[in-house]
Structures are given as structure tokens and as C-alpha cells.
Subunit: 115 residues, 2 copies
């Protein structure tokens, strides 16, 4: 069996990669919110931390009681307990990646895990 | 303590995010190879799977005995044992994210881990 799985560019409002890429250590989604729209709920997690990367556009995220502006190239890590909601700007879409991993799950990494 | 950590756009040949974002379930790096250049070694991993996202540009990766072309928006997951090496195209740089997670570490996710 091959040691890799490849897919092309994700299109549409939301693409979940776990099954498409046969992931075992993360779920990753690619998301686009149109200008003026938002994720219609606030959520937190039981065990998973999430890392978000802004591919393009701009907007904001609320985490607990704080509002954080976001633009292309930004990264934000949110701990499991953080209550979060994402919003596109009123005049711009926002496209972002969400990487979901189990908090505390990483052991050795980079040079210490390399062969 | 705040439930989030944010940083701005990564610049330069390689930026490692683990310590900058206080990650506990992943290491993530942002990498740029100039046109005609490559990562100067082949590597595999002991425990970690890696997921790569091409932010911009084009190039290729070799995994074991296969050569896979890469361009903006592509995703590739490589299992720990895959022997990999990344190359920029001769006429284009390539910028990519590498997400390193422990294979098999993800438990419940998305709706099943949400609150």
C-alpha cells in the first residue's frame, strides 16, 4: 500500500479531509464564509485543540469574551475550552483551514521523531 | 489564562509554530523553497504522520519511489514510513504548510467532540 494520499484544491463552503486523506492523527477542514456571514453557533471542544490558518480574506473570531481580528496568513490556536465563533468581514469573504488534534497527544517531533 | 494564542503571517524560509502557538497536539511549520531548490535530505518518521498543504507556487515531492506533482491548494498526507523529499519547480517557488501529528492519536472529532 502506498504511503501517501493526495487530493486537489478544496472547493465549496466546507470540505472535511479526514476520510479523503485517511488521516489518523487529525481532522482538517477547509472553510469559506461569504462576506457578512458567520458560523451560526458558538462551540467548544471536549478533548481537541484547534489551529486555524487564514488562507485568504478577512474577518474575526470571538473566543470567550474577546474579539480577535483575522486576515490572510494569520494563525490562531484555540484550547479545547475556548468558546469560539467565526465571522467573515462585512465586505470580504474569509477562507480558513481548521486543524483539529487531541490536546496533549504529540510526543517527539521533527528531528526527535525523524529517521 | 486566555484560551487562545494568535500570531501573524509567517515569513522566511521556515517558521516552526509549536512554541509560538503553544501547541500540544501538533507541530506545524510554514516553509518556502525558492525556484530550483529542494529540502536537502530524504526523511521519514517514527510515529508521526505529516499533512502538507500547498499555499502557493508549484513543485513536487518524492515519496518512496514515486514522484508527485504539487500546486497551489493541493493536500497530501504521508504516513510515518514514507520516505519523502520536497522540491520547488525549476521556474517557481513553492510555499507549504507541514502539519505533524502522532499517527492514531485522534479520538472523537467534530460533532462527537464538540460542546
Amino acid at each position: 500500500m502506498s504511503n501517501y494520499t493526495k487530493i486537489g484544491k478544496a472547493v465549496g463552503a466546507r470540505t472535511e479531509l479526514h476520510d479523503k486523506l485517511n488521516l489518523t492523527g487529525a481532522e482538517i477542514s477547509v472553510n469559506t464564509l461569504e462576506a457578512g456571514s458567520c458560523v451560526p453557533f458558538v462551540h467548544a471542544h471536549k478533548e481537541n485543540e484547534e489551529i486555524y490558518f487564514i488562507i485568504s480574506g478577512k474577518g474575526k473570531v470571538t473566543v470567550d469574551d474577546e474579539e480577535i481580528t483575522l486576515s490572510e496568513g494569520d494563525w490562531i490556536k484555540i484550547a479545547p475550552a475556548g468558546k469560539r465563533q467565526f465571522f467573515a468581514s462585512s465586505d470580504s469573504q474569509i477562507s480558513y483551514i481548521c486543524i483539529q488534534v487531541k490536546a496533549g497527544s504529540l510526543g517527539a517531533y521533527t528531528a526527535d521523531d525523524a529517521l
